[in-house]
């Protein structure tokens, strides 16, 4: 069982490949080596991979056939812009007006949908119940960017990048943004726990309340 007798019980002549020559003088702790050539397919694939290198390098950095990161980014963005314009041309654009958005405000399904969107996308910055965190309190009567439906819709759409408010226009559909307005309208005046100090201008009257009074 000792390893050292290993050479003797590994009779190389018994093997299926008895014609293959062994390398003379190579026996290391009983391990021998065949003098086999390298498999042809292996050599060929290796050369193909090696040949690919200059083709790719020259194609990208000299002959400009293969797009670089920046070229690819530009062409992808152009393609996306095309898709967006085409879609807008085919679909009637959502008319952004106080009345159009008001159709969502107070509607239960819209508020429920808005609430879902809110907890997924907005709660991290505006607090779970709109009390404000990084972003301002959305339940009080103070507004930085105005308190009309269109004002809120526009802030959501365009964001305030300098202050850390994300633009959602290319992420959420107009309908979804309107549902968010509906949700924000529904939590006005709830005065949740831990409410952030007021920011912006005080608006005595909420358009939402006008709505309720009318109906």
């Amino acid at each position: 069982m000792s390893n050292d007798t290993h050479r003797d019980d590994a009779n190389p002549n018994q093997s299926a490949s008895q014609d293959e020559p062994l390398i003379e003088g190579h026996s290391y702790d009983g391990i021998e080596e065949y003098d086999n050539p390298m498999p042809g397919w292996w050599v060929w694939l290796f050369w193909i991979c090696v040949a690919f290198a200059p083709v790719y390098v020259l194609g990208m950095h000299v002959f400009d056939i293969i797009p670089t990161y920046e070229e690819k980014l530009a062409s992808d963005q152009a393609e996306l812009a095309e898709i967006r314009t085409a879609w807008e041309a085919q679909n009637p654009t959502f008319e952004v007006s106080n009345d159009a958005i008001a159709a969502f405000v107070g509607v239960e399904e819209a508020i429920a949908a808005g609430q879902q969107l809110y907890s997924a996308n907005c709660a991290v910055c505006h607090g779970a119940s709109g009390e404000g965190l990084i972003g301002p309190n959305l339940t009080d009567a103070y507004w930085i960017h105005g308190n009309e439906n269109v004002d809120i819709y526009t802030v959501i759409t365009e964001g305030v990048l300098d202050k850390g408010m994300t633009p959602w226009g290319s992420i959420l559909a107009p309908q979804e943004r309107s549902e968010l307005v509906a949700y924000i309208r529904s939590i006005e005046g709830t005065n949740p726990e831990g409410a952030k100090e007021p920011q912006g201008t005080l608006y005595e009257e909420s358009p939402a309340e006008d709505n309720e009074e009318e109906t």
């Binding site: 080596e33 290796f46 950095h61 996306l80």
Partner: protein, 483 residues
Amino acid sequence: METTQPHAYRESRGELVHFDDGIVRLFVLATAIWGFVGMLVGALIALQMPFWQANLGPYLTFGRLRPLHTNAVIFAFAGNAIFAAVYYSTQRLVKARMFSDLMSRIHFWGWQTIIVSAAITLPLGITTSKEYAELEWPIDILITVIWVVFAVNFFWTLKVRREKHLYVAIWFYIATIVTVAVLHIGNSLAIPAGLFKSYPIYAGVQDAFIQWWYGHNAVAFFLTTPFLGLMYYFLPKAAERPVFSYRLSIVHFWSLVFIYIWAGPHHLNYTSIPEWAATLGMVFSVMLWMPSWGGMINGLFTLRGAWHKLRDSVVLRMYVIGITFYGMSTFEGPMLSVKTVNALSHYTDWTIGHVHAGALGWNGFMTFGMIYWLLPRLWKTKLWSPRLANAHFWIGTIGMLLYVMAMYSAGVTQGLMWRAFDEAGRLVYPDFMETVIQIVPMYWVRLIGGLMYLAGVILMLVNLFKTIATAPSKLDDSSITVS
């Protein structure tokens, strides 16, 4: 040299060489124990992903345990396995005892000290935050010292060898020892700012370059070349067959070590490194495919005429799985490095799947095979239970398949969700959480696969300790007579 001496003369000059087997036994024990610990931590972090409640206190959160897992499995499990393989096979391949028993012991205990310091400092949050090089500068210095001790001991043994030619396994060990030293020192250069804090001397993009030159070549020279050396010794030994092609081993050795060094930037595709550098990393990765497969071919073709032996030999079966997974991950790697593929795979679990196909398949199974082959030889007894070893083979293979399949499907799913646009040109999944929740079931499958793999390691530990219990009380070193 001796071979030219007349036969009778040689006989009369016969000299008894005793090998240091004790050091190999120590490294084998450390491999198995740290393997268990490292993979236990792996299973815990695999649980933490779908079940956040498993993040316990500040010390046992995912962020701190993840580097503990990677350090434990790479440097403790794979590291000790490498040393066991080097100490066992080098002595026999060059017909000489290790140059210094003392240096071997310093290497062993020094390395375990490094591992224990990693296990203490990482959960405490002490880290350089460079992946696979998280340990702070005092530990880095200790690593350097211990590695030098290892290197001197190894090269001195080569110097006093009694075998003229160096077998291919030794070339791979040399490449490992030299390159790991260069990589470790190069990437760890830092200015200390207190005992547990330092700043790298590189900044910004340069730092990223050095880090992934290191990171990628850690894969190359810690998880690949030493394991190829291991394969070249233990596979023909276990199969009792000559190596398929000497020429192939020369060509794939030199092409592998030359090309690997340049491929690091494929870890930085689509980042702020200049694009020519990313291109360089990509084309070198593509060229790396065949040099890697050279090792696989030489391994699998060595088994020609010995395939029937797989039926009875769990060791050979483990090697076949190991080498096959090596072939798979070194096909996958070049593919992932192609920029357009990387655009999909990067930042997803596809990378994690790739990593563990290599780690569990190649490093894990080659190590297990080696341990099962060494146990009876080192402890001069029979393996306690070949059936248990067989169970390890199956549960490990199935567990590993579950792990990598889950990660491939999670990775591709998430990658496709991130880039999905609807017909209006808006993101279909603007909410990142949605793409995470989608792959949570895959995280559970990964956990099950990981636990099965871990169960296999536990079976091996039981087998190991039971085998040792039946060993003779006095273990002599093996010896050979050389002229």
